[in-house]
């Protein structure tokens, strides 16, 4: 309780203490709607074009004090989260922070990523926010360094991308995202709560892009395997890391003979992915179905058919974002009158998207020290993830990031609290604490 109270106090103090950003000289500024019509700080100050000249310590500025920055957004997937993010960037952030966004098509490979970066350079883009989590980060940052293009990527700090942190790259603003071990723990706890004593129901895991090095998907799958190992005292014939990274469907060999099946890929990596997943489910061997990526929209029909055909209640958990598809899935009854989905670890699209924007924007406005740890290396900002397991929770969460009503968990006040131009005394440590303090309880209270 003390912790919660402290967290709440910290968030409130930062939020209210920093609302001066843009308001000192502004004519009007709604926190949840309408465009910012902030006036120039003073007629003599002019625009600050070069990032290096910006951000004089101790002096709050407004977005209008800077040139209009151009930011490229690289998307590796195409789903309702990416649509929502685009809306958030284009219609909410862009007018308020005097920035322009350039969006990529679905980026699937390093070659696609290179093409988009080059196109961005031709268009005069200042920085890239990448949602492509891959081991190519080490190489891509070198490309960005050459073009003097800021690069912020949604991933975690793993040995595979270590060079990007230790290479001394000036344009590497850092990384941000959910610590995969948190997702892994949520999955573990959920399995413990639903699994039978002997594990005879069988477990199927769709490991999504784990085989391509996607950290989140890999950790999710590893978390499930580790949980099963803990609960049933299993011994696998290979390491959990290797099993989770399989690129072909795999019946996981184990000493207790439990049915554990890993099915890699997504509907976008293979045209036959849905058919393969359906076929596996229709064997009736799997009573618990865990998905490392939000693919439930494609597997829902198969789950329903199996539940009806085998008269078995399949428990389904997924790692997803708050979206219409998730809400629909939770509000759809299965044969037994339960929700089609039983548990979802969710991220807020606006929260995740704002973290990327804040990283790049702080760098562009001269507050790059906010993106650096004490040893000078690029920072990793951890984003909390929340486990939702009831319709009420999901329906409530659905109202938080809403493009039509223009309500966002990470609204203007929340963003301002993390910007150097609004808080000249902000430090990297404070920023890390700020993100940590935004818990599910805080969001529920804040959004209500």
């Amino acid at each position: 309780m003390k912790k919660r109270a402290l967290a709440l106090a910290l968030v409130l103090s930062m939020t209210f203490g920093l609302t001066a950003c843009g308001n000192g000289n502004s004519t009007s500024q709604g926190s949840n709607g309408g465009n910012t019509t902030t006036a120039q700080a003073d007629s003599g100050s002019g625009e600050t074009a070069a990032p290096s000249q910006a951000g004089a310590a101790g002096e709050a500025k407004t977005p209008q004090d800077f040139k209009k920055f151009k930011i490229g957004v690289m998307e590796s997937q195409s789903n309702d989260s990416t649509v929502l993010r685009r809306n958030y960037y284009e219609n909410y952030i862009a007018p308020r922070y005097n920035v322009e966004f350039v969006f990529s098509e679905q980026v699937k490979s390093a070659e696609d990523e290179m093409n988009f970066i080059e196109n961005c350079v031709d268009m005069g883009v200042d920085g890239i926010i990448s949602y492509r989590s891959s081991p190519d980060v080490n190489q891509i940052i070198q490309v960005c360094e050459e073009y003097e293009l800021l690069y912020s990527v949604n991933t975690t700090r793993t040995p595979m991308v270590e060079d990007a942190f230790t290479g001394g790259y000036q344009t590497m603003t850092g990384v941000w995202g959910t610590e995969p071990s948190i997702v892994s723990n949520e999955f573990k706890e959920w399995i413990k709560s639903v699994a039978s004593e002997d594990g005879s129901e069988g477990f199927m895991v769709t490991s999504a892009l784990a085989f391509q090095g996607n950290t989140m998907h890999a950790e999710c799958t590893q978390g499930v395997l580790a949980a099963l190992q803990d609960i049933y005292g299993l011994t696998y014939e290979d390491t959990i890391e290797n099993l989770a990274a399989t690129s072909v469907p795999l019946e996981v060999p184990n000493d207790k003979g439990l049915n554990i099946y890993i099915y890699p890929g997504t509907n976008s990596t293979s045209d036959n992915w849905v058919q393969g997943a359906s076929t596996a489910l229709q064997t009736g061997k799997y009573g618990v179905f865990l998905q490392a990526a939000p693919t439930y929209g494609y597997t829902g029909v198969a789950v329903d058919e199996v539940e009806r055909g085998f008269d078995m209640n399949i428990k389904v958990a997924v790692n997803a974002s708050i979206s219409d598809t998730l809400v629909t899935a939770f509000n759809t009854d299965d044969k037994f009158g339960n929700s089609s989905l039983d548990m979802a670890t969710v991220q807020s699209v606006s929260f995740l998207s704002a973290m990327g924007f804040i990283q790049v924007y702080n760098h562009l406005t001269g507050y790059e020290h906010l993106n650096r740890m004490a040893n000078g290396e690029p920072a990793f900002f951890n984003m909390p993830i929340w486990a939702l397991s009831s319709r009420e929770q999901v329906n409530q969460a659905a109202t938080w990031d809403n493009a039509e009503k223009e309500t966002w968990i990470f609204n203007e006040d929340a963003i301002n609290a993390a910007l150097g131009i609004c808080n000249p005394d902000l430090t990297n440590e404070k920023l890390v604490d700020y993100y940590k303090s935004i818990t599910l309880d805080w969001v529920i209270e804040h959004m209500s």
Partner: protein, 336 residues
């Protein structure tokens, strides 16, 4: 008035419609070159105007070429396969296989020359193997390529797992800045043009693509001709693997994904039918790849949203495919 005009036509003939006129224009010998080239010039000019000259900048035009280079290399090589009426969609997987082998070769020896040789050899071996199975057992090339695509991808995934392999970025930039890719491509393109348009190889391929049985009866050895076409395709696959390594300095399991379709698209956009035959040429791949690249870059520079980009690109492709894909009515082809 209408009746009078109709009456002037000789008996047994009919008035030409719009489609007839399109077909007549389409059947002109120079159409496969002039039409895609005109479209490409119009696209570049259109984007140049829309971006107030921004698209004409040297860096932008070079970027268009650079981004088209890998597809252009494979497409140019694959025109040899398509010309003979065959298809192969395993080029992406074969390229990834070659690239992985090349990176390992470089990391083991530190020799760029060895890396290039390994890539080329692996590329030629893999593609020749596809051609060999077709030539020996008569299995359709498309079926072989579907199976081989899975096999090559599985091997690459097995070798790499979730990791990527990479080589020194600085070395890649040195090679890039020295024009290695551009010079290599030009040499390869000239080689293909000469082989296809100035030797008997191209003529035989077109003849085989037009009607394999007829070609065989005139003394053309079908198996040898097909094997040559796949060997050249392998050379292109190997070279594109080298280009890919140099461009990104990293190789992962996603390399080459969907390339088979991109290559077919490039060839059709470049003015050649993927069913081969007499109107085949070696430059279609380059024209098509540059067109796709110019469209992608230009639409993005014009601030067209990614979703609209796909739509606009689709419409342009449909028009070009409609105008390019049909062959003139001749003898029955291999597909007939």
């Amino acid at each position: 008035m209408e009746n009078t005009k109709e009456n002037k036509l000789p008996q047994g003939t009919r008035k030409l419609g719009v489609m007839d006129h399109i077909r007549i224009i389409r059947d002109k010998p120079m159409f496969p070159l002039i039409f895609p080239l005109t479209v490409l010039i119009l696209i570049i000019a259109g984007f140049g105007i829309a971006t107030e000259g921004g698209f004409f900048r040297k860096t932008v035009l070079m970027g268009v070429f650079n981004q088209a280079l890998i597809i252009a290399t494979v497409s140019t090589a694959m025109t040899f396969v398509f010309a003979a009426g065959n298809m192969d969609i395993s080029v992406g997987s074969a390229m990834a296989f070659s690239a992985v082998a090349g990176v390992y070769a470089y990391n083991a020896t530190g020799s760029v020359f060895f890396m290039v040789v390994v890539c080329l050899v692996i590329g030629v071996v893999l593609m020749s193997f596809n051609g060999f199975i077709h030539a020996m057992f008569g299995v359709r090339t498309i079926i072989i390529s579907i199976v081989m695509m899975q096999l090559y991808s599985a091997i690459v995934s097995l070798i790499l797992g979730p990791d990527t392999v990479s080589i020194d970025y600085g070395l890649c930039r040195q090679l890039e800045n020295a024009g290695f890719r551009n010079i290599s491509f030009i040499l390869f393109f000239v080689f293909c043009m000469i082989l296809f348009h100035s030797t008997s190889v191209g003529r035989k391929l077109k003849f085989v693509g037009g009607n394999a049985r007829c070609a065989q009866q005139t003394g053309i050895q079908y198996k040898n001709t097909v094997l040559i076409s796949f060997a050249v395709a392998g050379l292109g696959v190997g070279l594109s693997a080298v280009f890919s390594i140099i461009r990104t300095s990293t190789v992962g399991t996603t390399l080459g994904a969907g390339m088979g379709m991109d290559v077919m698209l490039a060839v059709v956009l470049g003015g050649m039918s993927i069913f081969g035959g007499s109107r085949s040429n070696a430059y279609a791949g380059l024209l098509g790849a540059v067109t796709v690249s110019a469209l992608n870059k230009g639409l993005l520079m014009c601030d067209v949203s990614p979703m609209l980009i796909q739509g606009v690109r689709g419409i342009v492709f449909l028009i070009l495919v409609f105008l390019n894909s049909e062959r003139p009515a001749t003898l029955p082809s291999a597909q007939d």
